[in-house]
């Protein structure tokens, strides 16, 4: 308890030591809007809650590490599930709020919150039994904390320890999106009578995070890559993978859309959720990659694609993405292939 008192005092000192602008950030309600958005994302929060709270047999008396704990909601779920102790780590000043929240909910002796980089801090336990983390970004990997989770796994997780969640799969399908593409991309061709095409190339190279209706899907979805968090390494986060999209109907393909599914296989009964267009809204929405050309496809034809993803060399949180495509058809008038480069930053 004494150390906890120091914690709170330390947090207060940190707050008074902060530069004025930082204090504003910490105290600004609007800056915390993203946490509100995430907590209001029921698919996300409820899946985590069920994965943790419904598996008390796994959490009972275990030491748990919450990577990127934010408002500490996952840490508190773990305490509810019977964890012996939870360590929450986050770089953001949100952790100061989290400390208040944990205290108000009477869990301050069960949860230790540490502000800092996972690579630089020291944990009060040499090893942990379970890692929980909500690390996923848009398109799974954009601004994701997965590398931090992998670092924590390698350094702190006991042999046969558990990771929640432990599987992430990226899916892609082709969509008909003529109207919206015209609105988003074609818009720059004629802005009140002026040619704004310099901005068009920029718009094309920026993947669009937005919700897509399932009826827009022209092809079956194809799973591109599954990351197994027990075994994958940071090197696996840069990849180049071929996949095929089978067309379901005669239509046009204006864009490829990507999303991901998350699995908690450590649970007694696997819990999973999807961020795809076929299911409930999540704050991750989907990520749309517009192609420069329009593919005219017929039912049962296939599009051979390649997805190349690598972290930007200058800024590892940014992503360089390339999509290669080749429509497989006997009809040479419709044959089309090419590749497009995107940057998420």
């Amino acid at each position: 308890m004494a150390s906890d008192k120091m914690d709170v005092e330390g947090a207060q000192k940190k707050l008074t030591d902060m530069a004025h602008s930082e204090q504003h950030y910490f105290n600004s309600y609007n800056h915390h809007g993203i946490h509100e958005e995430m907590l209001k994302d029921e698919v996300r929060t409820r899946s985590y809650m069920n994965a943790i709270v419904q598996n008390k047999h796994l959490f009972k008396d275990k030491v748990v590490l919450d990577v990127g704990c934010g408002t500490a909601i996952l840490s508190m779920f773990a305490v509810k599930a019977g964890a012996k102790h939870v360590i929450g780590v986050d770089m953001s000043t949100i952790i100061l709020k989290a400390k208040e929240i944990v205290k108000v909910n009477g869990m301050e002796d069960k949860i230790t919150l540490i502000q800092g980089k996972m690579e630089e801090i020291e944990l009060p336990f040499p090893k942990v039994d379970i890692i929980i983390s909500e690390w996923m970004g848009y398109f799974l990997l954009y601004e994701s904390m997965l590398d931090t989770v992998l670092y924590a796994r390698d350094k702190y997780l006991v042999k046969d320890g558990l990771i929640f969640p432990d599987k992430a799969t990226i899916f892609v399908c082709g969509i008909e999106d003529g109207d919206y593409k015209d609105e988003k991309i074609g818009f720059w061709d004629n802005v009140y009578g002026f040619d704004y095409s310099p901005l068009k190339a920029t718009a094309l190279s920026e993947p669009l995070v937005d919700t897509v209706e399932v009826k827009a899907a022209v092809t079956d979805p194809s799973s591109v890559i599954t990351l197994d968090l027990y075994t994958c390494t940071t090197a696996d986060l840069a990849f180049s993978i071929p996949f095929r999209l089978q067309c379901r109907r005669d239509d046009f393909v204006h864009a490829l859309v990507a999303w991901f599914d998350i699995d908690f296989t450590a649970c007694h009964k696997t819990i999973r959720f999807s961020t795809g267009p076929h299911t409930k809204y999540t704050h991750w929405k989907q990520t749309v990659f517009y192609l420069r050309e329009v593919l005219t496809v017929q039912q049962d034809e296939e599009i051979a694609c390649t997805l190349v993803v690598k972290p930007n060399e200058k800024n590892r949180r940014d992503l360089d993405i390339e999509v290669g495509y080749a429509l497989q058809t006997q009809d040479i008038t419709r044959q089309a292939q090419g590749s497009c480069s995107y940057k998420m930053c």
């Binding site: 530069a19 004025h20 504003h24 950030y25 600004s28 309600y29 800056h31 993203i34 946490h35 509100e36 907590l39 029921e42 069920n50 990127g68 408002t71 909601i73 509810k80 986050d90 770089m91 953001s92 000043t93 949100i94 709020k97 929240i101 909910n105 970004g137 848009y138 601004e143 818009f187 802005v191 002026f194 040619d195 704004y196 310099p198 901005l199 920029t202 920026e206 993947p207 669009l208 995070v209 937005d210 209706e213 399932v214 009826k215 979805p221 379901r248 005669d250 959720f273 999807s274 076929h278 299911t279 409930k280 809204y281 990520t287 800024n315 006997q330 009809d331 040479i332 998420m344 930053c345």
Partner: protein, 578 residues
């Protein structure tokens, strides 16, 4: 730049529906997609009654069973699509009449437009003609290649070599051009690496969980300029047709005012407004990097010689002229102010308050997260507020006339009064917005000097025909209630119809104000029907009046502090707008 601020396309699923999501991945997968396939029509053989799934197999059948090579005939006669249609109908007609069909068909046989009319309704063969392989080169050329016509071959080969060389040189030029362009863009857009983090922290775009922690924000104003360099915000602004149409209409409808004049466009952005007809000399100034794109736009519009772009803050750039005739600017900040007048109206919406106020944080999945609600009443919330949740008449509390406005005018106190349009349990807050008016008549006395715009002008001019309480949507109508084409105005308020990118500002009242201020009065009122502070039931037609005060924030020259009093001055609250 990924962003969550874009307008969403409609989503079928209610995001907050409360069904279980243990496994929210619909196992049916894609089955709920409408199956809108049509039955592919059967392909009926040209020469008998058999049917086939496609044209290719049908033609193979004709060749095998009837020794009729359709593709061979097509090749021989060099038939295009229409030729093939005629050929098909010619054959169908002959079969229909019971006449024999041989491969000895000449172009003359089928050269009759009557054969363009299908013999069979919805003949799948004709539709299937698209699927046939391309015609190969005419026999003449094939013969030429085989050596009969050496000169032609040599010519073609030579021409081919020339074209290849040309292609190589064009490709090289293109590559150089690409390199040059990307270098320029890297320089202009990829700011010094150190700024990247600051930018990230500030952007609510991305998944800004604050994972990067809080970096030093040395220059708030730098962020302001940087945020204007992204493409998104300019798309938002240009697509805000209320805004762009109004500026365009005013400029285009008043060509006579612009002819031969020197025009200054402050904060020109993508330079859309910088083109006034009759080609005046135009200076476009913007401190944001978007001006690089503006230069390209201007070049493409062929206006380089009339529009000069200057990159920098208005206060710092040196203009190539001493004075300008006209200033065009679109300088209202996000959410608020200042070009016409600002208005206020009380709002009441218990549902919104319970979903977005303190109550939400009081119970998040069974946890008390009230700490997150700290500051919830301290800042102006920028949002689209539905007009039907406004519970009183709007009150225009401040008129700003750009000809006479001084920097000091941005700090003011003004009275407001609103009459309630319905009974309410409580006033949850006040909504503020502005109306903008473009006045074609310049006041005779104004010197229009820049950049020292802070100079106090004589205030004895009228408001160019804009009364203090004008409402944009009404002001543009003539006495008969029709649209007056000479007048241009727009509102960013909740009653204007079209939404604008400025949205409105909500001053969310702190329901605990009264308690904090005077606990005794709460106790006194305990048994009466009214609560404390703004938690008072109010009747329709009751007046809400008080004062509203704008001041510049001490720590940030671009931030505002807005204070409002109500209940005869007994209650007051301040909000920051950053």
């Amino acid at each position: 730049m990924a962003t969550s601020s874009k307008p969403d396309r409609p989503v079928n699923d209610n995001p907050l529906s409360d069904s279980e999501s243990d496994d929210s991945r619909d196992e049916e997968g894609w089955n709920d997609v409408e199956e809108d396939e049509e039955d592919t029509p059967e392909v009926i053989s040209l020469l008998d009654d058999r049917v086939f799934p496609d044209v290719i197999s049908m033609l193979a059948h004709c060749k095998e069973k009837h020794s009729f090579d359709f593709l061979g005939v097509r090749q021989k006669l060099q038939l295009d699509f229409h030729g093939c249609v005629k050929l098909v109908n010619f054959i169908r007609q002959r079969v229909h009449e019971g006449l024999p069909v041989s491969e000895d068909i000449s172009v003359a046989d089928i050269d009759d437009d009557a054969y363009l009319k299908p013999v069979l309704d919805d003949d799948a063969v004709i539709i299937g003609l698209f699927d046939l392989p391309e015609l190969s080169a005419p026999d003449a050329i094939i013969a030429a290649q085989s050596g009969d016509n050496g000169a032609l071959v040599n010519d073609l080969l030579k021409r081919n070599t020339e074209l290849q060389e040309q292609l190589a040189s064009v490709l090289l030029q293109h590559e150089n051009y690409q390199a040059a362009v990307s270098k320029t863009l890297d320089e202009r857009w990829g700011e010094a690496g150190a700024d990247d983090n600051t930018k990230k922290t500030n952007q609510t775009a991305g998944k800004g969980k604050g994972k990067d922690g809080v970096e030093e924000k040395e220059d708030e104003s730098k962020y302001y300029w940087e945020s204007y360099a992204g493409v998104d915000i300019h798309e938002t602004m240009l697509k805000d047709t209320v805004r762009t149409d109004a500026y365009r209409d005013f400029i285009y409808n008043n060509k006579h005012l612009f002819a031969g004049k020197t025009v200054l466009d402050i904060g020109c952005g993508t330079a859309c407004s910088a083109r006034a007809p009759a080609h005046p000399v135009c200076l476009a100034v913007d401190a944001s990097d978007i001006i690089i794109k503006a230069r390209e736009n201007i070049y493409r519009a062929g206006l380089s010689d009339t529009i000069t772009t200057l990159h920098g803050k208005m206060e710092e750039v040196a203009l190539p002229v001493d004075q300008v005739d006209i200033i065009v600017s679109e300088w209202m900040g996000y959410g608020l102010l200042f070009d016409g007048h600002a208005s206020l109206a009380p709002v009441s919406d218990p549902v919104w308050v319970s979903e977005n106020g303190e109550a939400f944080w009081a119970d998040v999945y069974g946890f008390d997260m009230s700490a997150m609600a700290k500051g919830i009443y301290d800042e102006v919330r920028v949002l689209h507020w539905p007009g039907d949740k406004v519970c009183g008449t709007s009150s225009a509390f401040k008129m700003l006339d750009l000809y006479t406005t001084t920097a000091a005018d941005l700090s003011f106190t003004a009275p407001y009064v609103s009459r309630l349009t319905q009974d309410v349990d409580a006033i949850d807050g006040f909504l503020i917005w502005f109306d903008t008016f473009f006045s074609p008549t310049a006041p005779p006395s104004s010197a229009q000097q820049i950049p020292e715009g802070q100079k106090v002008e004589a205030a004895n001019v009228d408001n160019h025909g804009v009364p203090d309480d004008a409402v944009a949507t009404e002001w543009i109508l003539d006495n008969k209630g029709k649209r007056n084409q000479d007048l241009v105005a727009f509102t960013t308020g909740p009653f204007g119809g079209a939404e604008t990118h400025w949205k409105q500002g909500l001053l969310h009242c702190d329901p605990h104000l009264g308690e904090k201020k005077d606990e005794h009065s709460v106790a006194v009122n305990e048994n009466s029907s009214t609560g404390s502070g703004n938690q008072q039931q109010k009747k329709k037609n009751e007046e809400v009046r008080g004062e509203i005060t704008f001041s510049v924030a001490e720590d940030n020259a671009r931030a505002l502090v807005i204070k409002t009093t109500w209940d005869a001055g007994r209650t007051q609250q301040s909000w920051a707008l950053r």
